[in-house]
């Protein structure tokens, strides 16, 4: 372990953890002075091909309020067959099955390389996965056709024993019965009436009149069978469902001129949630909602059916002019919470040119770990391939989705957990390790992740509670254990345990060590998550000001400078990139709503708070590659100076892949040189970024928007809006040279931003 770089990389590979600080300040006071909190990005189900799960139950600490899992950090007395919990210091005897252990015969969970270990446990009957399609039928014919095909295709991708259900909606909501022979049968609900879960279950015939004394009993088998009319194993109803989907018609109710179709999305979701709630509580299930427009009637209505009244914009929201916003949001939040309690996740696949109400509905996915996919049409490869990728499989042939996750965080005494930010809901479990200081979703040390996959990443924030005068804690290391229980896609119940430890450092004597343990990438993403979390409830400018203040304080703390002399300002290597990240973050759609609809902002934020570090960084600061005849493809600065006539640029913003042909290249391409055999090398140059883009397209979820443009092309704006505007129409002549491309913007460039930052950092007044 030579450098922190390597240490960080190794930790991420093994445990899926990236900490902002890899040395922890030993007291609360020192910790707060570091500005960036002790926090980490944690990927609970990080793909670990080298980690075969063990087939037994974890050994738990016997102290009732601890229950930490035996781990490599525990002290073990092999002779006495006793282990000491490293969190509460309780001494525990090993269970009888561990009688044979010794120094040379250790169970896996004691070996240092198994700081992350996965247990397969046999608890309760295994429940099949459940997929409930909820389909908007107010689509254009072409869109509906494409969607039907995608859905029919998806049937073949589902595990054969998975249960599927079908709900369609337009003006009415229809729950389709899947077992019928002859006559296709469906239950219909009015799209305007808010029904309670009990009413829905009654109307679907899911509740038998309870015999006295039977109340509160778990679902009896025959009741489950009744609900099975709507949720059937794929292999049994494959044909039926294919036919049903095939016969699906557009909503037949007439839509008069100047009106939007009546879309009862709210009731449809309520029915879906109610159905699953009644039939399969606490079982992994996915509600997949496909919509082609905003909800226009009933509870959860986002916009009325009058076309002359457009859907709310940021402007309306700021002016408090969005009539339905609060009510709809509240409605969907209530649904999302109900769904989350039962461990059912909700995906939203929204394909329309206009907004579809994601702003109001986002909580459905955000709280339940569902996906949000946003596209222009169901008839695009963006949707089709993204949707296919939902069902992709890992190296074992298992689906890359897990359900009903519960993540618990245990900490050693000096550390408390403040909260988490990610696709999760609080389980309100107040333990001794819960801090009163909330960051993100706090006040608990357990979170529910209704659905998670290998890349689902949470930001977890901690607080050092050791008092300033207290000695550096015993053992010299602080420990954190993540215990994640979940339902694997093969229906097994599994528990993954990750235990990590970091050294304490005295901030006064060892500040350089702490500084060099700073993981600026992780810190940038963790701070960004805090910013995005705030942006959901606070005004945009306030969030930016908060971010700026944090950055200035950090620079003041760690920068080397002479007072009042900006030119003397220096940052060490471990912090050098951090201001740049913040610069791009300030410009990103996660914090800027200008030029984005409320739906787009919700969409971007949704993905930002769940992706792992690498993807998050791409989102903050897109990657720019350059292809030219001057050498092999290379990453270049995300700067307007990188835009040169003889270059092809490939920009990856996570959501978009832009291939930009420089002016000369574009002219050559137009002239058709690539067709001529003597310009084979040009053809290859053109092909290179396409191949690289393909590679990204292959793996990314959701599929990015693919843009092929050139100098002067209208879509070049995607690139121009992202690069650092170092050359603008304001300073072009000052630079004199015709390098790069001027950007027509009044935004400040990174250089100006840095100058200001330095000035503020060195000033004694701030």
């Amino acid at each position: 372990m030579s450098t922190y770089q390597e240490f960080i990389q190794q930790n991420e590979d093994r445990d899926g953890v990236r900490f902002s600080w890899n040395l922890w300040p030993s007291s609360r006071l020192e910790a707060t002075r570091l500005v960036v909190p002790v926090s980490c990005l944690f990927t609970p189900l990080k793909e670990r091909p080298s980690l075969p799960p063990v087939q037994y139950e974890p050994v738990l600490c016997s102290r009732a309020n601890c229950k930490a899992v035996l781990n490599p950090l525990c002290q073990v007395d092999f002779r006495a067959k006793i282990w000491a919990c490293n969190f509460c210091f309780q001494r525990n005897p090993f269970p009888p099955s561990y009688a044979g252990i010794s120094e040379v015969n250790q169970p896996a969970e004691l070996m240092p390389q198994f700081s992350t270990i996965e247990y397969i446990v046999q608890r309760g009957p295994s429940a099949p996965l459940i997929f409930l399609y909820v389909i908007d039928t107010c689509l254009e014919e072409e869109d509906l056709q494409a969607l039907k095909e995608s859905l029919q295709m998806s049937l073949s991708l589902l595990p054969p024993n998975a249960l599927v259900g079908l709900i369609t909606f337009g003006r009415m909501v229809q729950v389709h019965e899947l077992t019928c022979e002859g006559i296709a049968k469906s239950y219909v609900f009015r799209g305007t009436k808010d029904l309670s879960a009990k009413q829905i279950q009654e109307m679907l015939g899911l509740t038998k009149p309870a015999a006295p004394g039977q109340q509160g009993r778990p679902v009896a088998p025959q009741e489950a069978a009744a609900s099975c009319r709507f949720l059937q194993p794929v292999h049994r109803v494959d044909m039926n469902l294919t036919d049903l989907l095939g016969e699906l018609q557009r909503d037949p109710w007439p839509v008069s001129q100047g009106k939007r179709p009546l879309r009862s999305t709210g009731v449809a979701l309520s029915v879906a949630v109610g159905l699953l709630e009644g039939a399969f509580p606490n079982t992994g299930a996915r509600v997949m909602l496909f919509i082609g427009g905003p909800p226009t009637q009933g509870p959860g209505m986002v916009v009325g059916d009058e076309l002359k009244i457009p859907i709310r914009s940021w402007h309306d929201i700021q002016k408090d002019n969005a009539r339905h916003l609060k009510k709809a949001t509240k409605y969907y939040e209530a649904l999302a919470n109900r769904s989350a309690v039962n461990g059912h996740s909700i995906d939203i696949y929204a394909c329309a040119l206009d907004q579809t109400g994601l702003l109001e509905m986002k909580c459905l996915s955000n709280l339940t770990g569902g996906h949000i996919v946003m596209g222009d049409s169901f008839n695009t490869s963006l949707f089709k391939q993204t949707f296919q990728r939902v069902f992709s499989k890992d190296y074992n042939g298992d689906f890359r989705m897990a359900f009903g996750g519960v993540m618990e965080v245990k900490t050693s005494r000096e550390v408390k957990v403040c909260g988490a930010i990610g696709p999760c809901v609080s389980l309100h479990s107040k333990g001794s390790s819960v801090s009163e200081n909330e960051m993100g979703i706090g006040g608990t040390n357990q979170w529910k992740l209704c659905s998670l996959d290998h890349s689902t990443t949470l930001g977890v924030y901690f607080e050092v509670v050791n008092q300033h005068n207290a000695p550096v804690p015993q053992g010299g290391r602080g420990a954190i254990q993540f215990v994640t229980m979940y339902q694997h896609s093969n229906t097994q119940k599994r528990i993954r345990v990750t235990t990590i430890a970091r050294n304490w450092a005295d901030a006064q004597s060892q500040i350089q060590h702490i500084e060099s343990s700073f993981d600026q990438e992780a810190a940038a993403v963790l701070m960004a998550r805090l910013g995005v979390f705030r942006a959901e409830s606070e005004e945009g400018p306030d969030v930016l000001r908060w971010l700026d203040r944090q950055l200035i304080r950090l620079c003041q703390k760690f920068g080397q400078f002479n007072k009042e002399d900006p030119t003397s300002f220096r940052l060490s290597e471990s912090l050098s990139l951090y201001p740049q990240f913040m610069f791009h973050l300030r410009r990103s759609p996660f914090l800027q709503v200008f030029n984005n609809s409320p739906d787009e902002s919700s969409y971007y934020r949704h993905h930002f708070v769940r992706q792992d570090l690498t993807q998050s960084l791409i989102m903050i600061q897109p990657i720019l590659y350059s292809y030219s005849f001057h050498g092999p493809p290379e990453p270049v600065l995300l700067d307007s100076s990188s835009i040169l006539p003889d270059r092809i640029l490939l920009m990856d913003t996570f959501f978009q892949l832009v291939i930009y042909h420089g002016e000369t290249i574009a002219q050559w391409r137009k002239a058709g040189y690539q067709e001529m055999p003597e310009y084979e090398n040009f053809k290859q140059l053109l092909q290179a970024p396409l191949d690289d883009a393909q590679e990204i397209l292959q793996t990314r979820f959701p599929m990015p928007r693919y843009i092929d443009t050139e100098h002067g092309g209208s879509q070049a704006r995607f690139l121009l809006s992202k690069v650092n505007p170092s050359q603008t129409h304001n300073n072009l002549y000052a630079w004199g040279q015709e390098t790069g491309a001027p950007i027509l913007t009044d935004d400040v460039s990174l250089q100006v931003f840095m100058d200001h930052l330095k000035k503020l950092a060195v000033s004694s007044s701030s």
Partner: protein, 794 residues
């Protein structure tokens, strides 16, 4: 020709122990026979004002010459008293029984349709009466005077025509509205809902698929029958196919709608469980053209009985079912009819849920009326909704116990619907009977979404309306649908004095939608005489119409007052009417002599029969539902139906002439007319009995039943006559068949042997005898009335 009837002098006043000769008191059968002999087969021309038409039981041909045919309008009297005092003095009710869609025999011309172009029918500016033969053209034909309100109107330019030397328009005979009593106008958009031409009406079949209906086999029976029946939906004259759309709903606690769009390979079922707020889950494919969707509908009808074959659901809803129909029509913007096949009291949790409130202890008390009153609330509003949308409800009930018919039939009885009831339905014995009803009902010609307005010339006006109708205000009679058997009884009162010279005019205008979806106005005009002579008034009375009026008004009265009061009023008014005649019109004679006006001489027997009907007789042995059913059925009846209902036909069959076409002459409805060795057929439009005397000749039994003697007849034989190839069997079956054909409702043939227990059922229809559940014999009643009259006279 006023006069008493001979043969009863003095004797009536004498000691009751002296037995009267039953033949000496007025006989309905005799009156009918006389009228038939006098007027049967003749042409009745309607060119004379105040002309008394032949009896309803007489076959005659009508020639419309300016007044509506008696098939459309009959009156209690054709000479109205000139003043209100006179009317009050005689207490003869002034009423018309209007059957706007009465069936016309083939030899009478159907109504002409007149089109007055874009401006719509020509109407009086003041009273809005429609152009009719009574309008007086003046001023060389440029203006006309309305004979209803005397307003003088301009004749529109396009309608101008010169007058001849008689002051009649030259085109008098070319224009139905100037020369006929009944005709139709094409309505313009002004007469349509929302100023949009109506869509063709629709029929929705709503089948209760709860356990009892499935188990009895009813559902299968209906589904099988519909396959053939739907081919025979009524259609506009000359139209190739019926324009009526059809839809299907099944239900128990929840409703199942079916998408039977022709493009589908198989029907789709949509379940709506939200019975609290009913809605129609689909638009396209619910109401379809039968011809187009035949294959899908067949498929559906085949599957329905199987789909619910193992149902155990016994609870049903009812109000939501009707609501669903209304919503469906609303969505399709059409009017139509619901055929509801229902089994039990709706007890499932939903609007219109009913509780058993049958309480036999209330019979003969002041609270008895509550048994007839519908439960308020949901159904009241539902009737309103139905009428507003033009949704007629026909109810077929298959109860095995009390189901609160008074409430359940509330909507049908306000929407021009019919109520059919089959107690303890069994496919083997009642199947055919029910299917006949269904067939008749489905094929009836009718009009939808109708509003009727009765206008009168000055001096009197329509004040009260009785029938299966809904009244939103005091003048407009609204009917979701009106068919060829439904009649509205209209009572008139004086406003002012009437003039003998000008007489009295009635114009009944009915705005409706045809089965083809056209908006029409049907106009019936009738001119009546006015008289200041009571004798003239009595001469022009019509007993059959009077009894229709009395039946309806009595049946309505029992909703609000004790049955006993109502009976008293009936007797008192009868006595009063007759006493007034005696006092003012009859030539002086002994007080002990009962003198009846010729036109009303059988009135007492009808009145007596009316008072013995189930609704008016307080007996705990009668089922509350049956009483309510009869009450409601009569409310929509025309004169023919009430006549038959109150005086059944008793036809002797033992000496029938098998070679003759004719039906043997009926005999009086009295046990005395039966003979031990006779066979009799009795029918009243609701029930039909074949009565077998205990000494019936074995050869007759053999011919009819293929059994050697009466004793061999088993229970199973009691509902059908086997088809045997002998003249007697053929003749009897043809008589029965003809009767079944003729009556608006099907009747279930019941074969009873003399002295068997079921004979009781038969005996209650011998209306001249003492009633089984109370009520006097004809003879006693006559004596009683006579006593009352004498009391009034002294």
């Amino acid at each position: 020709m006023p006069g008493g009837f001979p043969g009863a002098p003095g004797a009536l006043a004498g000691p009751p122990q002296k037995k009267l000769d039953p033949d000496s008191i007025p006989s309905i059968t005799q009156v009918i026979e006389d009228d038939r002999a006098r007027l049967g087969g003749q042409v009745f021309s309607t060119n004379i004002r105040g002309q008394v038409p032949p009896l309803v039981t007489t076959d005659f041909t009508v020639h419309d010459q300016g007044n509506a045919s008696p098939r459309f309008i009959r009156c209690t009297t054709y000479s109205l008293p000139c003043t209100a005092e006179l009317a009050k003095q005689c207490q003869v009710p002034l009423a018309s029984i209007i059957k706007p869609f009465a069936k016309l025999p083939n030899n009478e011309t159907p109504l002409y349709v007149v089109n007055h172009g874009e401006t719509g029918p020509i109407r009086c500016n003041r009273c809005k009466a429609y152009m009719c033969p009574y309008m007086q053209f003046i001023d060389g034909g440029r203006r006309y005077q309305c004979s209803f309100c005397n307003c003088i109107n301009e004749v529109p330019v396009f309608y101008f025509q010169h007058l001849d030397h008689m002051g009649r328009r030259v085109d008098f005979y070319e224009r139905p509205e100037l020369s006929l009593g009944s005709y139709e106008f094409d309505a313009t958009l002004d007469y349509c809902k929302n100023n949009k031409p109506p869509n063709p009406p629709a029929y929705i079949f709503m089948i209760d698929v709860s356990y009892s209906n499935i188990k009895s086999g009813l559902v299968k029976l209906i589904c099988d029958e519909l396959k053939t029946l739907l081919e025979k939906l009524p259609r506009e004259d000359g139209a190739e196919a019926s324009a009526i759309k059809v839809g299907f709903v099944t239900y128990n606690k929840v409703l199942h709608f079916y998408n039977v769009k022709s493009a589908l390979a198989q029907p789709q079922m949509m379940v709506v469980s939200d019975t609290a707020e009913m809605f129609v889950p689909l638009l396209d494919g619910f109401l379809v053209n039968y011809q187009d969707s035949r294959a899908v509908i067949y498929n559906l009808l085949d599957q329905i009985p199987d789909m619910f074959a193992d149902t155990s659901e016994s609870e049903t809803v009812f109000a939501p079912v009707i609501q669903a129909g209304v919503e469906a029509f609303k969505a399709a913007e059409c009017s139509g009819k619901l055929f509801i096949f229902h089994s039990s009291m709706p007890t499932a949790e939903a609007p219109g849920k009913l509780k058993n409130r049958d309480d036999k202890k209330l019979v003969s008390t002041d609270k008895e009326k509550t048994l007839f009153q519908p439960q308020k609330g949901v159904y009241e509003q539902l009737s309103k909704d139905c009428v507003a949308q033009g949704c007629c409800v026909d109810l077929f009930l298959f109860p095995s116990q009390y189901l609160d018919l008074a409430t359940m039939a509330d909507v049908p009885s306000h929407t021009g619907g019919s109520i059919h009831k089959y107690n303890n339905f069994q496919v083997e014995t009642d199947g055919e009977h029910f299917l006949r009803d269904l067939r008749k009902d489905l094929q009836k010609s009718l009009g939808f979404d109708a509003v009727m307005r009765v206008r009168t010339s000055t001096g009197f006006r329509a004040t009260d309306f009785f029938g299966a109708v809904y009244m939103n205000n005091t003048t407009d009679v609204e009917m979701a649908a009106v068919d060829c058997d439904k009649a509205v009884t209209v009572e008139f009162k004086h406003d002012d004095a009437l003039s003998e010279e000008t007489g009295a005019l009635i114009q009944c205008a009915l705005l409706y939608t045809t089965i083809g979806g056209q908006r029409r106005l049907r106009i019936h005009n009738l001119s009546l005489n006015c008289t200041s002579q009571l004798s003239e008034l009595y001469k022009c009375c019509e007993t059959d119409s009077l009894i229709n009026f009395f039946a309806k008004s009595a049946y309505r009265a029992i909703l609000n007052q004790p049955v006993k009061n109502v009976s008293n009023i009936l007797v008192n008014q009868t006595a009063h009417m007759l006493a007034c005649y005696r006092k003012n019109c009859a030539s002086p004679s002994a007080a002990s002599q009962l003198i009846l006006p010729d036109s009303m001489k059988v009135f007492p027997v009808y009145m007596n029969s009316l008072m013995k009907t189930a609704p008016l007789v307080g007996s705990t042995e009668l089922s509350t539902d049956d009483r309510a059913h009869q009450r409601l059925s009569v409310m929509g009846m025309g004169v023919e139906d009430t006549q038959l209902q109150l005086y059944p036909r008793l036809i002797p069959l033992h000496d029938v002439d098998v070679s003759s076409e004719a039906v043997p002459a009926p005999v009086r409805c009295s046990e005395e007319r039966l003979t031990d060795s006779g066979l009799f057929l009795l029918e009243n439009g609701q029930s039909i009995f074949l009565w077998l005397g205990q000494a019936s000749p074995p050869d007759l039994i053999q011919s009819l039943f293929n059994e050697p003697s009466l004793a061999h007849l088993q229970q199973g034989h009691m509902f059908t006559l086997p088809e045997l190839d002998n003249p007697l069997s053929k003749k009897v079956r043809s008589i029965i068949g003809e009767l079944l054909e003729k009556r608006p409702n099907s009747m279930k043939l019941q074969i009873v042997r003399q002295r068997d227990k079921p004979e009781m059922l038969f005996r209650q229809f011998l209306v001249e005898d003492k009633g089984l559940h109370g009520g006097t014999s004809y003879m006693d009643f006559l004596c009683y009335v006579h006593r009352e009259i004498r009391q009034l006279l002294t």
